[in-house]
Symmetry: C2
């Protein structure tokens, strides 16, 4: 009965020490639509990017974050944090992008251990080409489907959620 959560009419009879607060119908709807929208959206964006630019969404996001950074470069760890991936995962993807000539590695002057991932000219060019199609789809599938108010709530609410998550992670 307990789906992700709710037990509308019949909570799991008697199980755990303290019966948890299940999700009511509305909470459940919010959670389900969040998960579903996220999955569906990812799927579509992945396909679009791969077909039109030969990039995975992850790779695209790496380019985006680098392009937004001061010198088109970021420390590996910092980049991993922004992307919300594992360090090893980033190492892998940066290597891939390096092979494609879109990103380069530079050692950090102030810290021998440090490594900067740096956007190459080719990388910038690739981003310039890939961005329009990607943005158009994000707009079509998400942004333009929602009202201004809904967008504001999304930004606000999920911003809060993210902030909390970040804090916890920092522990």
């Amino acid at each position: 009965m307990p789906s992700t959560s709710s037990a509308p009419s019949a909570p799991p009879s008697a199980a755990s020490p303290y019966e948890p607060r299940w999700l009511d119908e509305e909470e459940m709807a919010a959670w389900r639509s969040f998960v579903t929208a996220s999955n569906l959206l990812n799927r579509r964006l992945e396909r679009q990017l791969k077909e039109d630019s030969g990039l995975s969404h992850t790779q695209y996001e790496i380019l985006v974050h680098l392009s937004a950074a001061p010198a088109g470069s970021l420390r590996m760890t910092e980049l991993a944090d922004k992307l919300v991936t594992s360090k090893s995962g980033l190492t892998y993807q940066v290597t891939q992008l390096e092979k494609m000539g879109l990103v380069g590695r530079r050692s950090c002057p102030s810290d021998v251990r440090g490594v900067f991932a740096e956007l190459t000219d080719q990388g910038r060019e690739m981003l310039r080409e890939a961005a329009p199609g990607h943005v158009a789809l994000v707009r079509e599938l998400l942004i333009d489907v929602l009202s201004r108010e809904q967008l504001a709530v999304l930004a606000d609410g999920l911003g809060q959620v993210s902030a909390r998550l970040r804090l916890d992670d920092a522990l």
Copy 2:
């Protein structure tokens, strides 16, 4: 300059045939927080489930959907749709769950090709044990962070988004 989208002050000078409609600050904030929240949330839930129940989020969701279905069973394709994964991905995971004794396969009477994934008693028990901890975390990290109104907007807006995505996919 174009991150996922926005070009706040300086749009990419002149590139594509038709300059796309970049995302303004608010749209950008909504999109970023959506992506980030989704990733962070997934990461946490994944860890919690694995540690407390030895299940991946995907596996947990399979159990949830089966438990919510008429006879605790669903056709593979139907289940794959609900989960928003590839058919091959589902085949793999159902096999894993089968090895764990949480799910079984049954052939479909009316269609020789069809296969039903079916929740075993052990699977139901596992779900009963895993649900409280999972729900508690979803509540702590998302539900309880948002107000009733925000939840309503989430459910509504993202529900719409999902619905559209589903339609497109059906093509």
